[in-house]
Amino acid sequence: MKIYRVNMTEGTVRAEEVKEKYATLGGRGLTSQIIADEVDPTCHPLGPNNKLVLAPGLLSGTNAPSSGRLSIGTKSPLTRTIKESNAGGTAAQKLAKLGIKAIIIEGQPQDGKFYTLKVTKDGVELLDGTALVGQRNYDVGKQLRSEHGENVCVVSIGPAGEYKLSAASIAVTDGDGRPVRHCGRGGTGAVMGSKGVKAIVIDDTDAPGVSIKDKEKFKEAAKDFSKMLLNHPVCGQGLPTYGTAVLINILNEAGGLPTKNFRFGRFDGADKISGEAMYDVINERNGKPTHGCHPGCVMRCSQVYHDKDGNYLTAGFEYETIWAFGAHCTIDDLDAIATLDRLCDDIGVDTIEMGVTIGVAMEAGIIPFGDADGAIDLLQQVGEGKPLGRILGNGAEFTAKAYGVSRVPTVKGQSIPAYDPRAVKGVGVTYATSTMGADHTAGYSVTANILKVGGQVDPLKKDGQVDLSRNLQIATAAIDSTGLCLFVAFAVLDEPKALPRIVDMINAQYGLSLTVDDVTELGKSILKTEREFNAKAGFTNSHDRLPEFFNEELDPHGTTFDFTGEELDEVFNF
């Protein structure tokens, strides 16, 4: 395998052999290690000394089910911490099949121009990207496919990335060529923009494919693991049927659906924006309730959503997006939220960060709560680069500062997602302590708190939450390195034979003899590497805290986020 180093200052590409220390790393483990090794933690995220690293997971490109996840690592302009942002789509599989372990983009073009990277079996090439400047993601993809072939994967930034806004995402096309899968969180799109890279075209024609040391063993383990996913009620039935939006109702029932900028735990309009409502609408309009973000996913939580006239509007319409523009902004119109989702994908901004930001804009009185048309207009201004749009596009904290708002739900500058930390305390511990800023996926305690997966921990009490969050953060760092979708965790947490099967696949592919304990050690070492980077960037335990308004009681349960600093610091006791 190779690592490609693209130097944008010099306009050169170099293929490097994979160092021994990187050989058994992939995905997040690899991106975080390279960033820690090569990037000065005190650098400006948008300057020439930051780097952007793309890496497929260890199992990507193989027949392992749901293994096509891509990691992008950098120093985040939003949080100023280390960042790994993860996306589906077809990029990871194609990169892995091309024998590419990682692409490192460094430096900065001195001419201020934009370029396209073309990745093929012959290597990586820099092409002029001037013609794409100003274009949104759907058009960028269309244009590049017409030039380079319909089957290429396009990884791109929209205008938001060109403007280097902190909420900018990197879009990855799905199997249908739509830019609906994003490395959303942390402003990776702004870093790509700062490197002068508008798009990366990945063409895996005649790719050598992934070499597997012990094919028989791999096949057997992959088959078995696939079966475990399909037999698990969440992975095999819940996710394919209703997608992630099925969570709207259960969080609403549990009183943990943050509503009106985290004032209430329940939203009156929840029913109208629920996964069940979406399922009915999709079927009425001949959309697809079940859709995979990449070939080979067996859980297929994605969907294709049509507008009132039955025309394609958006895909990959997720719970967090629906919550952010929905309950958080008190908008109960699913079509309006779908339009906002489409706009985010097209402009290239994180739906969570933008949704939370629009709620903060409502808090500031720029538009009233519940104003769907106003929200669409604000988002358009982000895409057009208007002054207000540039404020909003830099995220919730920036917007709050610009308008003197103190009720701002962020940790380390990143917006808190769709679970109120007072009613789902375990995920609150993760928000506070994650190396990534507020991030539910970093340690998804919603499992044992709400979903009865991987045990049961009372979401309203403190007991057991710190241990739960720690264990999940460790396991997640490891899973994010495999290229497996994090949603395999539902099965892994419930089925003791699942994790050994993942280890079997890795061992068979790479000729290793790792044990389940090694996986835990890998997770710990990734977190330590990331924490160390953050410490050098100036972060201390006092940054591992939630905003003070979470001391206010939340209806309906009247609970607060009542962990002491010392208790939170116990998460990293290893």
């Binding site: 009620p233 997608g243 109702n249 259960i250 996964g275 996926t441 998804y444 499992t447 979903l451 949603f487």
Partner: protein, 78 residues
């Protein structure tokens, strides 16, 4: 006693279509969540998540007049 009952995801199929997954149910005093599940004819082949007034409760939980009960099949996302 009267209960405010909501069924979610594919459990909605066990209520009349126009109910939108929400019904009022009359049960004798002292009934448990398990009694309610039986009353609604929900099959027991999958584990269920039962929420009473926003708190997860076991099946033997004794219900009270006016309780808001939500029942979910296994769901997930994130």
């Amino acid at each position: 006693m009267q209960l405010e009952v909501r069924l979610f995801a594919n459990l909605r199929d066990y209520l009349p279509k126009d109910s939108k997954g929400q019904v009022k149910v009359e049960l004798p005093e002292g009934s448990t969540a398990a009694d309610l599940i039986k009353h609604l004819n929900i099959p027991r082949d999958l584990p269920l998540i039962i929420m009473v007034n926003g708190r997860r409760e076991p099946e033997n939980h004794v219900l009270q007049d006016g309780d808001r009960v939500g029942i979910f099949p296994p769901v997930g996302g994130g």
